[in-house]
Symmetry: C2
């Protein structure tokens, strides 16, 4: 079975219930996009491909005259999702621009370099607020969906504290 970056998201979201391509994009933008984005240009072709492979089944479900096609996971699709979940990890790729900046902080006067740390801290704090807002309106999400949201909040909380600690440490070592 062919795998691209979008395959597991589509399969995974459909495991939570039937969705249209548009729905999938909407849900992605409200949830996984924080650690796994997907665009229309990937989603629609992928849905057709998965249907050809028998992993999902599409059904026309128009709203009045407006077309709409809803997909649901087949048994084979659920199996494929589980195989992926239990299989070996393939993609290990992070891109953290703020960390890259920090890494080159020595190219800046000390005060401005510390500003980079301060900015990172604020980034964490803002992120935490966004996630808290999502958390507040989150109803009864499945356990592991909830777990990942919790991770996001805990991580950003930790990250903000870490920056603060280092800021203090570096300010002291500068004074020394």
């Amino acid at each position: 079975m062919k795998q691209t970056a979008v395959t597991p998201v589509v399969l995974g979201l459909l495991s939570l219930g039937p969705l249209s391509g548009y729905d999938i994009k909407t849900v992605v933008d409200r949830s996984t996009r924080f650690f796994w984005a997907a665009s229309y240009g990937q989603i629609y072709p992928e849905l057709r491909r998965l249907e050809d492979e028998g992993l999902v089944e599409g059904e026309d479900a128009p709203n009045g005259r407006r077309g709409r096609r809803v997909y649901r996971l087949t048994e084979a699709g659920r199996k494929a999702l589980q195989d992926w979940l239990l299989g070996p990890e393939t993609t290990i790729e992070y891109r953290d621009e703020s960390l890259l900046r920090l890494f080159f902080g020595d190219a800046l006067p000390r005060e401005q370099a510390l500003g980079l740390l301060e900015a990172r801290k604020q980034g964490h704090e803002q992120y935490l607020e966004i996630l808290r807002a999502i958390d507040a309106r989150a109803g009864q999400d499945p356990d592991f969906v909830d777990l990942v949201l919790r991770w996001g909040m805990d991580f950003n909380d930790w990250g903000a504290r870490w920056c603060e600690e280092q800021l203090e440490r570096l300010r002291v070592s500068k004074a020394a």
Copy 2:
């Protein structure tokens, strides 16, 4: 000035001292690749582009008959790096496959889903070991290079603990 993903790494690494394209790739693979990768296919064309723009200067420094070209940052290049360091953040894109798996953990029987968390924990532990090994042989790195390494170790330490805590919490809630 044109910016691609590889621009800041090249400029940044050259700010620490003159390097060849090959050197840059080697250093990247030992340091930034954890949060910012780069390939030969990006590095070599980028060096020429940056030279055309006057941000770096290349000098032939062959070893015997074997060609070698070493680049150093110009004043304009240092300025460009600083501008980037202080400018607005552009790329915010994470890909965390392990988190994506966790997110869809509900599609698995409970025990196997908890295995996903356990696997993530082990991932953090292994990563931590790798970084500790780097830390041990790290000599006198610049402050902020050091800071980022420290971040990596602290983050993975935190991550492993977090997984452990959640594992305990979920095991209890299951028993309830």
